[in-house]
Symmetry: C2
Subunit: 223 residues, 2 copies
DNA sequence: ACCTGAACACCGTTCAAGT
DNA sequence: ACCTGAACACCGTTCAAGT
Protein backbone atom coordinates (compact mmCIF):
# COMPACT_ATOMS: atom_id res chain seq x y z
CA UNK A 1 0.00 0.00 0.00
CA UNK A 2 2.84 2.38 0.79
CA UNK A 3 4.68 2.69 -2.51
CA UNK A 4 5.92 6.22 -1.99
CA UNK A 5 8.47 6.73 -4.72
CA UNK A 6 11.09 9.39 -5.18
CA UNK A 7 9.33 12.48 -6.42
CA UNK A 8 12.08 13.22 -8.94
CA UNK A 9 10.20 12.64 -12.19
CA UNK A 10 12.69 11.58 -14.78
CA UNK A 11 11.83 13.50 -17.90
CA UNK A 12 13.18 10.63 -19.96
CA UNK A 13 10.23 8.40 -19.00
CA UNK A 14 7.84 7.94 -21.86
CA UNK A 15 4.33 9.11 -21.26
CA UNK A 16 1.92 6.28 -20.53
CA UNK A 17 -1.62 5.84 -19.40
CA UNK A 18 -0.43 4.70 -15.99
CA UNK A 19 1.88 7.67 -15.47
CA UNK A 20 -0.91 10.02 -16.48
CA UNK A 21 -3.39 8.42 -14.10
CA UNK A 22 -0.82 8.43 -11.33
CA UNK A 23 -0.11 12.13 -11.78
CA UNK A 24 -3.80 12.92 -12.04
CA UNK A 25 -4.47 11.15 -8.76
CA UNK A 26 -1.73 13.17 -7.10
CA UNK A 27 -3.36 16.39 -8.25
CA UNK A 28 -6.83 15.21 -7.20
CA UNK A 29 -5.60 14.19 -3.76
CA UNK A 30 -3.59 17.34 -3.20
CA UNK A 31 -5.89 20.02 -4.54
CA UNK A 32 -9.26 18.50 -5.35
CA UNK A 33 -11.34 17.89 -8.40
CA UNK A 34 -11.35 21.47 -9.64
CA UNK A 35 -7.55 21.54 -9.79
CA UNK A 36 -7.33 18.71 -12.29
CA UNK A 37 -7.01 20.40 -15.67
CA UNK A 38 -5.25 19.13 -18.74
CA UNK A 39 -2.87 22.07 -18.53
CA UNK A 40 -1.94 21.43 -14.90
CA UNK A 41 -1.57 17.74 -15.63
CA UNK A 42 0.58 18.36 -18.71
CA UNK A 43 2.83 20.74 -16.81
CA UNK A 44 3.30 18.25 -13.97
CA UNK A 45 4.25 15.65 -16.58
CA UNK A 46 6.46 18.15 -18.42
CA UNK A 47 4.60 17.67 -21.66
CA UNK A 48 2.04 19.38 -23.85
CA UNK A 49 -1.62 19.27 -23.02
CA UNK A 50 -2.44 17.60 -26.32
CA UNK A 51 -0.10 14.71 -25.58
CA UNK A 52 -2.47 13.37 -22.94
CA UNK A 53 -5.12 12.79 -25.57
CA UNK A 54 -2.92 10.21 -27.19
CA UNK A 55 -3.34 7.97 -24.14
CA UNK A 56 -6.74 8.99 -22.78
CA UNK A 57 -9.92 9.73 -24.72
CA UNK A 58 -11.17 12.68 -22.70
CA UNK A 59 -11.56 14.04 -19.20
CA UNK A 60 -14.41 11.71 -18.34
CA UNK A 61 -12.33 8.67 -19.15
CA UNK A 62 -9.42 10.10 -17.21
CA UNK A 63 -11.51 10.57 -14.07
CA UNK A 64 -13.03 7.10 -14.46
CA UNK A 65 -9.56 5.59 -14.82
CA UNK A 66 -8.42 7.39 -11.67
CA UNK A 67 -11.40 6.11 -9.72
CA UNK A 68 -10.85 2.58 -11.00
CA UNK A 69 -7.23 2.73 -9.94
CA UNK A 70 -8.38 3.33 -6.39
CA UNK A 71 -11.46 1.16 -6.19
CA UNK A 72 -10.74 -1.96 -8.23
CA UNK A 73 -7.86 -3.18 -6.01
CA UNK A 74 -10.22 -2.98 -3.02
CA UNK A 75 -12.64 -5.31 -4.72
CA UNK A 76 -10.35 -8.25 -5.20
CA UNK A 77 -12.46 -11.25 -4.33
CA UNK A 78 -10.77 -12.90 -1.41
CA UNK A 79 -11.24 -16.48 -0.46
CA UNK A 80 -14.61 -16.74 1.12
CA UNK A 81 -13.25 -17.49 4.54
CA UNK A 82 -14.44 -15.77 7.68
CA UNK A 83 -17.83 -14.77 8.93
CA UNK A 84 -19.84 -13.31 6.03
CA UNK A 85 -21.25 -10.35 7.97
CA UNK A 86 -17.77 -9.41 9.05
CA UNK A 87 -16.61 -9.75 5.45
CA UNK A 88 -19.27 -7.34 4.27
CA UNK A 89 -18.35 -4.92 7.02
CA UNK A 90 -14.72 -5.06 5.92
CA UNK A 91 -15.60 -4.49 2.27
CA UNK A 92 -17.75 -1.52 3.20
CA UNK A 93 -15.13 -0.08 5.52
CA UNK A 94 -12.48 -0.52 2.85
CA UNK A 95 -14.48 1.66 0.49
CA UNK A 96 -15.29 4.13 3.23
CA UNK A 97 -11.63 4.52 4.16
CA UNK A 98 -10.50 4.78 0.54
CA UNK A 99 -12.99 7.58 -0.09
CA UNK A 100 -11.90 9.20 3.12
CA UNK A 101 -8.39 9.35 1.71
CA UNK A 102 -9.50 10.22 -1.85
CA UNK A 103 -12.78 12.10 -1.53
CA UNK A 104 -13.06 12.79 -5.25
CA UNK A 105 -13.65 9.07 -5.79
CA UNK A 106 -17.02 9.47 -4.09
CA UNK A 107 -18.48 11.70 -6.75
CA UNK A 108 -16.93 9.56 -9.45
CA UNK A 109 -18.47 6.25 -8.43
CA UNK A 110 -21.87 7.43 -9.56
CA UNK A 111 -20.87 8.17 -13.10
CA UNK A 112 -20.28 4.69 -14.46
CA UNK A 113 -22.32 2.42 -12.28
CA UNK A 114 -21.72 -0.67 -14.35
CA UNK A 115 -18.01 -0.48 -14.59
CA UNK A 116 -15.70 -3.30 -13.67
CA UNK A 117 -15.34 -2.27 -10.04
CA UNK A 118 -19.07 -2.36 -9.52
CA UNK A 119 -19.34 -5.91 -10.80
CA UNK A 120 -16.69 -6.97 -8.34
CA UNK A 121 -18.49 -5.24 -5.53
CA UNK A 122 -21.78 -6.93 -6.38
CA UNK A 123 -20.03 -10.29 -6.37
CA UNK A 124 -18.12 -9.74 -3.14
CA UNK A 125 -21.20 -8.65 -1.26
CA UNK A 126 -23.57 -11.04 -3.01
CA UNK A 127 -21.50 -14.14 -2.34
CA UNK A 128 -21.41 -13.36 1.35
CA UNK A 129 -25.15 -12.76 1.51
CA UNK A 130 -25.70 -16.13 -0.13
CA UNK A 131 -23.57 -17.68 2.56
CA UNK A 132 -25.79 -15.96 5.11
CA UNK A 133 -28.76 -17.77 3.62
CA UNK A 134 -30.39 -14.91 1.73
CA UNK A 135 -32.75 -16.51 -0.80
CA UNK A 136 -31.84 -16.10 -4.47
CA UNK A 137 -35.01 -14.13 -5.09
CA UNK A 138 -34.08 -11.41 -2.60
CA UNK A 139 -30.38 -11.31 -3.40
CA UNK A 140 -30.32 -8.50 -5.94
CA UNK A 141 -32.46 -6.18 -3.80
CA UNK A 142 -30.26 -6.78 -0.76
CA UNK A 143 -26.98 -6.22 -2.56
CA UNK A 144 -28.38 -3.13 -4.27
CA UNK A 145 -29.48 -1.68 -0.96
CA UNK A 146 -26.04 -2.17 0.56
CA UNK A 147 -24.30 -0.71 -2.47
CA UNK A 148 -26.66 2.26 -2.68
CA UNK A 149 -26.11 2.99 0.98
CA UNK A 150 -22.34 2.80 0.61
CA UNK A 151 -22.46 5.11 -2.40
CA UNK A 152 -24.73 7.52 -0.56
CA UNK A 153 -22.29 7.88 2.31
CA UNK A 154 -19.42 8.11 -0.16
CA UNK A 155 -21.12 10.92 -2.02
CA UNK A 156 -21.76 12.86 1.14
CA UNK A 157 -18.16 12.47 2.24
CA UNK A 158 -16.99 13.69 -1.12
CA UNK A 159 -19.27 16.70 -0.92
CA UNK A 160 -18.08 17.42 2.61
CA UNK A 161 -14.48 17.36 1.52
CA UNK A 162 -15.24 19.61 -1.43
CA UNK A 163 -16.83 22.19 0.82
CA UNK A 164 -14.46 22.03 3.77
CA UNK A 165 -11.12 21.29 2.22
CA UNK A 166 -8.62 19.81 4.60
CA UNK A 167 -7.88 22.48 7.13
CA UNK A 168 -11.38 23.15 8.41
CA UNK A 169 -11.97 22.42 12.05
CA UNK A 170 -14.58 19.74 11.75
CA UNK A 171 -15.63 19.53 15.36
CA UNK A 172 -16.31 23.25 15.67
CA UNK A 173 -18.23 23.10 12.42
CA UNK A 174 -20.39 20.29 13.75
CA UNK A 175 -20.83 22.22 16.96
CA UNK A 176 -22.12 25.21 15.01
CA UNK A 177 -24.70 23.14 13.14
CA UNK A 178 -25.67 21.34 16.33
CA UNK A 179 -26.23 24.70 17.99
CA UNK A 180 -28.59 25.70 15.18
CA UNK A 181 -30.42 22.41 15.58
CA UNK A 182 -30.82 23.01 19.28
CA UNK A 183 -32.23 26.46 18.70
CA UNK A 184 -34.89 25.34 16.25
CA UNK A 185 -38.52 25.61 17.21
CA UNK A 186 -39.35 23.33 20.15
CA UNK A 187 -42.68 22.21 18.76
CA UNK A 188 -41.92 21.73 15.08
CA UNK A 189 -38.46 20.25 15.46
CA UNK A 190 -38.70 17.70 18.23
CA UNK A 191 -36.57 15.06 16.53
CA UNK A 192 -33.93 17.46 15.24
CA UNK A 193 -33.43 18.87 18.73
CA UNK A 194 -32.99 15.38 20.13
CA UNK A 195 -30.39 14.60 17.51
CA UNK A 196 -28.32 17.74 18.05
CA UNK A 197 -26.11 16.25 20.75
CA UNK A 198 -25.43 13.12 18.74
CA UNK A 199 -24.66 15.24 15.69
CA UNK A 200 -22.09 17.20 17.66
CA UNK A 201 -19.98 14.30 18.73
CA UNK A 202 -20.71 11.50 16.31
CA UNK A 203 -17.99 9.69 14.42
CA UNK A 204 -18.55 9.37 10.68
CA UNK A 205 -16.94 5.98 10.40
CA UNK A 206 -18.85 4.48 13.31
CA UNK A 207 -22.08 5.93 11.99
CA UNK A 208 -21.40 4.45 8.57
CA UNK A 209 -20.91 1.05 10.14
CA UNK A 210 -24.10 1.45 12.15
CA UNK A 211 -26.00 1.88 8.89
CA UNK A 212 -24.41 -1.24 7.43
CA UNK A 213 -25.46 -3.14 10.53
CA UNK A 214 -29.01 -1.88 10.26
CA UNK A 215 -29.19 -3.20 6.72
CA UNK A 216 -27.62 -6.52 7.69
CA UNK A 217 -30.11 -6.71 10.54
CA UNK A 218 -32.98 -6.09 8.20
CA UNK A 219 -31.64 -8.68 5.80
CA UNK A 220 -31.31 -11.24 8.58
CA UNK A 221 -34.96 -10.71 9.51
CA UNK A 222 -36.21 -10.96 5.95
CA UNK A 223 -39.64 -12.38 5.16
CA UNK B 1 -44.70 61.59 -13.56
CA UNK B 2 -45.08 58.28 -11.77
CA UNK B 3 -44.91 55.34 -14.14
CA UNK B 4 -44.47 52.47 -11.71
CA UNK B 5 -47.97 51.10 -12.16
CA UNK B 6 -47.52 51.23 -15.86
CA UNK B 7 -44.35 49.24 -15.63
CA UNK B 8 -46.00 46.44 -13.69
CA UNK B 9 -48.52 46.06 -16.48
CA UNK B 10 -45.89 45.51 -19.12
CA UNK B 11 -45.49 42.11 -20.71
CA UNK B 12 -41.83 41.93 -19.89
CA UNK B 13 -41.83 41.31 -16.15
CA UNK B 14 -38.87 42.50 -14.18
CA UNK B 15 -36.14 39.96 -13.57
CA UNK B 16 -36.39 38.29 -10.19
CA UNK B 17 -34.77 35.46 -8.33
CA UNK B 18 -37.87 33.33 -8.76
CA UNK B 19 -38.12 33.90 -12.49
CA UNK B 20 -34.44 33.05 -12.86
CA UNK B 21 -34.77 29.84 -10.85
CA UNK B 22 -37.90 28.90 -12.77
CA UNK B 23 -36.17 29.36 -16.13
CA UNK B 24 -33.08 27.52 -14.91
CA UNK B 25 -35.19 24.54 -13.86
CA UNK B 26 -36.80 24.48 -17.30
CA UNK B 27 -33.39 24.29 -18.91
CA UNK B 28 -32.16 21.64 -16.47
CA UNK B 29 -35.24 19.50 -17.02
CA UNK B 30 -35.20 19.86 -20.77
CA UNK B 31 -31.53 19.52 -21.59
CA UNK B 32 -29.65 18.49 -18.46
CA UNK B 33 -27.04 20.00 -16.22
CA UNK B 34 -24.50 20.73 -18.93
CA UNK B 35 -26.98 22.90 -20.82
CA UNK B 36 -27.43 25.36 -17.97
CA UNK B 37 -25.08 28.24 -18.76
CA UNK B 38 -25.46 31.87 -17.84
CA UNK B 39 -25.60 32.72 -21.51
CA UNK B 40 -28.37 30.23 -22.29
CA UNK B 41 -30.25 31.35 -19.21
CA UNK B 42 -29.88 35.03 -20.07
CA UNK B 43 -31.04 34.46 -23.61
CA UNK B 44 -34.11 32.55 -22.42
CA UNK B 45 -34.89 35.46 -20.11
CA UNK B 46 -34.14 38.00 -22.85
CA UNK B 47 -31.54 39.75 -20.78
CA UNK B 48 -27.79 40.07 -20.44
CA UNK B 49 -25.76 37.39 -18.72
CA UNK B 50 -24.47 39.87 -16.16
CA UNK B 51 -28.00 40.75 -15.06
CA UNK B 52 -28.41 37.38 -13.40
CA UNK B 53 -25.60 38.18 -10.99
CA UNK B 54 -27.71 40.96 -9.53
CA UNK B 55 -30.12 38.34 -8.16
CA UNK B 56 -27.91 35.28 -7.65
CA UNK B 57 -24.39 35.12 -6.24
CA UNK B 58 -22.92 32.53 -8.59
CA UNK B 59 -23.66 29.26 -10.35
CA UNK B 60 -23.38 27.20 -7.20
CA UNK B 61 -26.04 29.25 -5.49
CA UNK B 62 -28.21 29.06 -8.58
CA UNK B 63 -28.07 25.26 -8.67
CA UNK B 64 -28.71 25.05 -4.95
CA UNK B 65 -31.71 27.34 -5.29
CA UNK B 66 -33.08 25.17 -8.09
CA UNK B 67 -32.69 22.03 -6.01
CA UNK B 68 -34.33 23.70 -3.02
CA UNK B 69 -37.25 24.75 -5.18
CA UNK B 70 -37.89 21.09 -5.95
CA UNK B 71 -37.05 19.47 -2.64
CA UNK B 72 -38.21 21.83 0.09
CA UNK B 73 -41.91 21.61 -0.82
CA UNK B 74 -41.66 17.83 -0.50
CA UNK B 75 -40.40 18.16 3.04
CA UNK B 76 -43.29 20.09 4.49
CA UNK B 77 -43.86 18.52 7.86
CA UNK B 78 -47.34 17.09 7.76
CA UNK B 79 -49.40 16.38 10.79
CA UNK B 80 -48.01 13.23 12.31
CA UNK B 81 -51.07 11.18 11.49
CA UNK B 82 -50.89 7.77 9.92
CA UNK B 83 -48.66 4.82 10.45
CA UNK B 84 -45.07 6.02 10.88
CA UNK B 85 -43.48 3.37 8.67
CA UNK B 86 -45.90 4.23 5.90
CA UNK B 87 -45.10 7.91 6.42
CA UNK B 88 -41.39 7.27 5.97
CA UNK B 89 -42.10 5.23 2.85
CA UNK B 90 -44.11 8.11 1.44
CA UNK B 91 -41.39 10.65 2.21
CA UNK B 92 -38.78 8.45 0.57
CA UNK B 93 -40.94 7.77 -2.48
CA UNK B 94 -41.68 11.49 -2.79
CA UNK B 95 -37.99 12.19 -3.10
CA UNK B 96 -37.46 9.25 -5.41
CA UNK B 97 -40.20 10.39 -7.75
CA UNK B 98 -39.06 14.01 -7.70
CA UNK B 99 -35.55 12.97 -8.68
CA UNK B 100 -37.00 10.71 -11.31
CA UNK B 101 -38.65 13.78 -12.84
CA UNK B 102 -35.66 16.09 -12.21
CA UNK B 103 -32.54 13.91 -12.25
CA UNK B 104 -30.15 16.83 -11.83
CA UNK B 105 -31.48 17.28 -8.30
CA UNK B 106 -29.81 14.01 -7.36
CA UNK B 107 -26.30 15.25 -7.90
CA UNK B 108 -27.18 18.55 -6.27
CA UNK B 109 -28.40 17.13 -2.97
CA UNK B 110 -24.87 16.17 -2.02
CA UNK B 111 -23.42 19.61 -2.36
CA UNK B 112 -25.00 21.38 0.57
CA UNK B 113 -25.92 18.67 3.01
CA UNK B 114 -26.95 21.00 5.77
CA UNK B 115 -29.27 23.17 3.83
CA UNK B 116 -32.83 23.89 4.86
CA UNK B 117 -34.30 20.94 3.00
CA UNK B 118 -32.04 18.51 4.81
CA UNK B 119 -33.12 19.76 8.22
CA UNK B 120 -36.73 19.20 7.24
CA UNK B 121 -35.95 15.72 6.03
CA UNK B 122 -34.19 14.81 9.27
CA UNK B 123 -37.18 16.05 11.23
CA UNK B 124 -39.81 14.33 9.08
CA UNK B 125 -38.03 10.99 9.27
CA UNK B 126 -36.82 11.42 12.85
CA UNK B 127 -40.22 12.25 14.28
CA UNK B 128 -41.69 9.12 12.74
CA UNK B 129 -38.90 6.92 14.05
CA UNK B 130 -39.51 8.32 17.53
CA UNK B 131 -43.14 7.34 17.17
CA UNK B 132 -41.94 3.85 16.25
CA UNK B 133 -40.16 3.69 19.57
CA UNK B 134 -36.58 4.14 18.41
CA UNK B 135 -34.56 5.15 21.49
CA UNK B 136 -33.15 8.68 21.52
CA UNK B 137 -29.63 7.32 21.55
CA UNK B 138 -30.03 5.47 18.26
CA UNK B 139 -32.12 8.12 16.53
CA UNK B 140 -29.39 10.02 14.69
CA UNK B 141 -27.75 6.87 13.33
CA UNK B 142 -31.07 5.54 12.07
CA UNK B 143 -32.14 8.76 10.39
CA UNK B 144 -28.68 9.17 8.87
CA UNK B 145 -28.79 5.66 7.45
CA UNK B 146 -32.15 6.28 5.82
CA UNK B 147 -31.08 9.63 4.42
CA UNK B 148 -27.77 8.28 3.13
CA UNK B 149 -29.55 5.43 1.42
CA UNK B 150 -32.06 7.78 -0.19
CA UNK B 151 -29.25 10.03 -1.40
CA UNK B 152 -27.32 7.06 -2.71
CA UNK B 153 -30.19 5.92 -4.87
CA UNK B 154 -30.84 9.51 -5.92
CA UNK B 155 -27.25 9.93 -7.02
CA UNK B 156 -27.31 6.75 -9.04
CA UNK B 157 -30.53 7.77 -10.75
CA UNK B 158 -29.04 11.15 -11.59
CA UNK B 159 -25.95 9.49 -13.04
CA UNK B 160 -28.10 7.10 -15.02
CA UNK B 161 -30.08 9.94 -16.52
CA UNK B 162 -26.90 11.83 -17.35
CA UNK B 163 -25.51 8.85 -19.23
CA UNK B 164 -28.66 7.63 -20.95
CA UNK B 165 -30.59 10.80 -21.63
CA UNK B 166 -34.26 10.25 -22.19
CA UNK B 167 -34.56 8.28 -25.38
CA UNK B 168 -32.46 5.26 -24.47
CA UNK B 169 -34.25 1.96 -24.37
CA UNK B 170 -33.75 1.05 -20.78
CA UNK B 171 -34.94 -2.52 -20.90
CA UNK B 172 -32.64 -3.50 -23.76
CA UNK B 173 -29.78 -1.78 -21.93
CA UNK B 174 -30.48 -3.80 -18.80
CA UNK B 175 -30.73 -6.91 -20.93
CA UNK B 176 -27.28 -6.24 -22.35
CA UNK B 177 -25.70 -5.87 -18.92
CA UNK B 178 -27.58 -8.90 -17.64
CA UNK B 179 -26.22 -10.90 -20.56
CA UNK B 180 -22.69 -9.90 -19.59
CA UNK B 181 -23.40 -10.91 -16.01
CA UNK B 182 -24.64 -14.30 -17.14
CA UNK B 183 -21.54 -14.88 -19.21
CA UNK B 184 -19.11 -14.15 -16.39
CA UNK B 185 -16.96 -16.93 -15.02
CA UNK B 186 -19.06 -19.61 -13.37
CA UNK B 187 -16.69 -20.11 -10.47
CA UNK B 188 -15.66 -16.58 -9.64
CA UNK B 189 -19.01 -14.91 -10.20
CA UNK B 190 -21.59 -17.15 -8.56
CA UNK B 191 -23.61 -14.34 -7.02
CA UNK B 192 -23.49 -12.06 -10.04
CA UNK B 193 -24.80 -14.85 -12.26
CA UNK B 194 -27.68 -15.48 -9.87
CA UNK B 195 -28.58 -11.79 -9.91
CA UNK B 196 -28.56 -11.43 -13.70
CA UNK B 197 -32.22 -12.38 -14.15
CA UNK B 198 -33.35 -10.05 -11.41
CA UNK B 199 -31.25 -7.27 -12.88
CA UNK B 200 -32.91 -7.73 -16.25
CA UNK B 201 -36.46 -7.22 -15.10
CA UNK B 202 -36.26 -5.32 -11.86
CA UNK B 203 -38.16 -2.12 -11.24
CA UNK B 204 -36.09 0.75 -9.85
CA UNK B 205 -38.88 2.16 -7.75
CA UNK B 206 -39.82 -1.18 -6.20
CA UNK B 207 -36.18 -1.92 -5.51
CA UNK B 208 -35.74 1.44 -3.85
CA UNK B 209 -38.67 0.69 -1.59
CA UNK B 210 -37.28 -2.75 -0.80
CA UNK B 211 -34.13 -1.06 0.52
CA UNK B 212 -36.17 1.30 2.68
CA UNK B 213 -38.00 -1.69 4.10
CA UNK B 214 -34.75 -3.49 4.85
CA UNK B 215 -33.60 -0.48 6.85
CA UNK B 216 -36.94 -0.16 8.64
CA UNK B 217 -36.74 -3.85 9.39
CA UNK B 218 -33.29 -3.49 10.84
CA UNK B 219 -34.42 -0.52 12.89
CA UNK B 220 -37.41 -2.43 14.22
CA UNK B 221 -35.11 -5.19 15.46
CA UNK B 222 -32.77 -2.80 17.22
CA UNK B 223 -32.01 -3.42 20.80
C1' DA C 1 4.25 6.13 -33.08
C1' DC C 2 4.18 9.74 -30.24
C1' DC C 3 4.48 14.60 -28.85
C1' DT C 4 4.10 19.94 -29.30
C1' DG C 5 1.61 23.97 -28.52
C1' DA C 6 -1.10 27.35 -30.88
C1' DA C 7 -5.90 27.89 -31.97
C1' DC C 8 -10.91 27.25 -31.31
C1' DA C 9 -15.19 27.36 -29.11
C1' DC C 10 -16.97 27.77 -24.96
C1' DC C 11 -17.32 28.89 -19.80
C1' DG C 12 -18.21 31.69 -15.27
C1' DT C 13 -17.53 36.09 -13.67
C1' DT C 14 -16.59 41.12 -13.58
C1' DC C 15 -17.44 45.85 -14.32
C1' DA C 16 -17.67 50.38 -16.56
C1' DA C 17 -21.35 52.26 -18.61
C1' DG C 18 -26.06 52.93 -19.31
C1' DT C 19 -31.37 53.51 -17.71
C1' DA D 1 -31.84 49.98 -8.26
C1' DC D 2 -31.33 47.32 -11.96
C1' DC D 3 -29.60 45.94 -16.49
C1' DT D 4 -26.24 45.69 -20.66
C1' DG D 5 -22.74 43.37 -22.98
C1' DA D 6 -17.90 43.60 -23.93
C1' DA D 7 -13.79 41.90 -21.74
C1' DC D 8 -11.04 38.68 -18.91
C1' DA D 9 -9.15 34.51 -17.40
C1' DC D 10 -9.76 30.03 -17.83
C1' DC D 11 -11.43 25.43 -19.79
C1' DG D 12 -11.56 20.90 -22.77
C1' DT D 13 -10.46 19.58 -27.17
C1' DT D 14 -8.44 19.61 -31.87
C1' DC D 15 -4.93 19.37 -35.24
C1' DA D 16 -1.24 20.77 -38.43
C1' DA D 17 3.28 20.35 -37.71
C1' DG D 18 7.22 18.32 -35.75
C1' DT D 19 10.35 14.02 -34.05
Amino acid sequence: MDNRKQRSERRTDALSRERIVEAAIEILDADGEAALTFRALASRLSTGSGAIYWHVADKGELLAACADAIVVPLMRIEVMAGEPREGIRLIALGIFDAIDRHPWVGSQLFREPWRFGMLQMFESVGARLLKLGVPDKALFDCVSALVSYILGVAGQNAANARMHPEGTDRSSLLAAVAARWEESDAEDYVAVRKMATQLRDHDDRAQFLAGIDLLLNGIAHLR
